[in-house]
């Protein structure tokens, strides 16, 4: 199980790779859509990449609850 810091670092790399957001901007309080300008297609890509990187399953009905970076970190770290 990855620690929350490890998840945040890994997620920051993914968000940077997919959407070009600087890693240091991917912090728990940020909203994917409102703060990081991630569109719905890129969000699907981020979920796919997280499933591969962290070996977790994020069902489609959970994705809508992952509004912030912090939501995603805690879901993945506790999955």
């Amino acid at each position: 199980m990855a620690s929350e810091q490890e998840v945040q670092d890994g997620l920051a790399d993914i968000v940077n790779e997919i959407a070009g957001v600087p890693q240091e901007d991917v912090t728990p309080g940020k909203s994917f859509t409102d703060d990081l300008d991630i569109d719905s297609l890129s969000m699907v890509e981020i979920v796919q990449a997280c499933e591969d990187k962290f070996g977790v399953s994020i069902p489609d009905d959970q994705v809508k609850n992952l509004k912030t970076v912090g939501d995603a970190i805690s879901y993945i770290a506790n999955a």
Binding site: I18, G20, S40, L41, E45, Q48, E51, D52
Partner: protein, 409 residues
């Protein structure tokens, strides 16, 4: 009738990363052919192609590039260059249109998405696959880039697509829908599947040991086309709008002619009836006489049948006035860019008329005795001053025949 002028040019081709480099390489008679050394090409019967001179990933922002198929990347690069070339004007975006054609569209994305589906399952298929693979993707991205709101379109007519885009863009302005249209074509199909499939049709040159000699329109030893990739975009503009902002008019799109063969899905009509009709209609649409056409940038793909059919069609239409025209075959250098071919060649015609120089056809070592036309072979040929008009021919699988008449300004 509204006059349509060309006020900007952009390109990325096998012989240049932009329009100026492409033009300089054409005048120098440069071949863009290369051996494909990638492992995916090792078992192919044809292992040669004409890849773009510059990789689009070296030009575009990384994140921007990963959301586009390679054909969209080419189109965006060419469109940005064309828009900058015309001065990046501040125009009414509701009067700005985009027409970017493609023969095949985002084929490489389609194939790699299928690899993912097969190897990793449906949940790993990219949500970007559809917006990348759809044939109108390149046009859509160019439209978004420029904020164009007068309409974004994608004609699909195989190897005539790029020429059809320019005809369509001209119509958009003539019919009052737009003041400026970015029009052209893009293609990115250098991949094992299309190479294998075109080779299965016996359409490609198999001169694997001598790629730069593979594309040889009108030469007696031609054995098929060389697959190229890239894009070209022309800025078309009503002459009134261009004059109003002081834009340079490099040439005028004077007319277009179109016909269809109704003969065979992939083979040309052996006597070129449809091709002849398109050329005749283009000259009529331009309001010119047959003797006014000084030059033809021919479709001339380097296939045994196609080159003859086009030459016969030219002789049928122009009769003895064909003796006063000179022809060139740009595909001898750039290969066949499929849906982008007609756009690159229209760009070549614009510069031919503007610079009054016809680029050579390379590799014509022994002109096919069945060709009784004046082919420019040994270096660029100087054209005279005064009004000059030229024809740009494109024909495509499906029996599409499109000819443009372009005039000097």
């Amino acid at each position: 009738m509204t006059s349509i002028v060309v006020t900007g040019l952009g390109a990325i081709t096998p012989i240049g990363g932009d329009a100026a480099a492409t033009w300089a390489a054409m005048l120098a008679g440069t071949s863009g052919a290369a051996v494909l050394n990638e492992t995916w090409a090792a078992d192919l019967p044809v292992r040669i192609a004409a890849p773009a001179a510059v990789d689009p990933s070296d030009v575009l922002d990384r994140v921007e590039a990963r959301r586009m198929d390679r054909c969209g990347q080419f189109a965006l690069i060419a469109a940005r260059e064309a828009w900058a070339h015309t001065g990046s004007p501040d125009v009414d975006k509701t009067r700005l249109g985009v027409v970017v054609a493609s023969g095949i569209g985002g084929l490489i994305t389609t194939l790699s998405a299928y690899d993912t589906l097969r190897d990793k399952g449906p949940r790993r298929v990219s949500p970007l696959a559809i917006p990348m693979l759809m044939p109108n993707s390149a046009a859509g991205y160019v439209g978004i880039e420029l904020g164009a709101r007068a309409g974004v379109h994608t004609p699909v007519s195989a190897c005539a697509s790029g020429t059809e885009a320019i005809a369509y863009g001209t119509d958009m302005i003539r019919t009052g829908r737009a003041d400026i249209v970015l029009a052209g074509g893009t293609e990115a199909a250098i991949h094992a599947l299309p190479l294998a499939a075109f080779a299965a049709m016996k359409a490609l040159s198999s001169r694997n040991d001598d790629p730069s000699a593979a594309s040889r329109p009108w030469d007696v030893d031609r054995d098929g086309f060389l697959l190229g990739e890239g894009a070209a975009i022309l800025v078309l503009e009503s002459a009134e709008h261009a004059a109003g902002r002081g834009a340079t008019a490099y040439a005028e799109i004077l007319g277009a002619g179109m016909s269809s063969d109704a003969h065979h899905i992939a083979q040309p009509d052996p006597v070129g009836t449809g091709a002849a009709t398109a050329m005749r209609l283009a000259v009529e649409n331009a309001g010119l006489g047959l003797g006014d056409i000084a030059h033809v940038n021919a479709h001339a793909t380097s296939t045994p049948l196609g080159d003859i059919g086009e030459a016969q069609a030219i002789r049928t239409v122009f009769g003895s006035t064909a003796d006063d025209m000179c022809l060139t075959g740009s595909k001898s250098m750039i290969g066949h860019l499929l849906g982008a071919a007609g756009a690159v060649e229209a760009l070549a015609v614009v510069l031919t008329l503007h610079e009054r120089l016809v680029p050579p056809t390379i590799n014509v070592d022994n002109l096919d005795p069945a060709i009784d036309l004046d082919i420019v072979t040994d270096g660029p040929r100087k054209l005279p001053g005064g009004d000059l008009a030229a024809l740009n021919n494109s024909f495509g699988f499906g029996g599409h025949n499109i000819a443009l008449v372009i005039r000097s300004t």
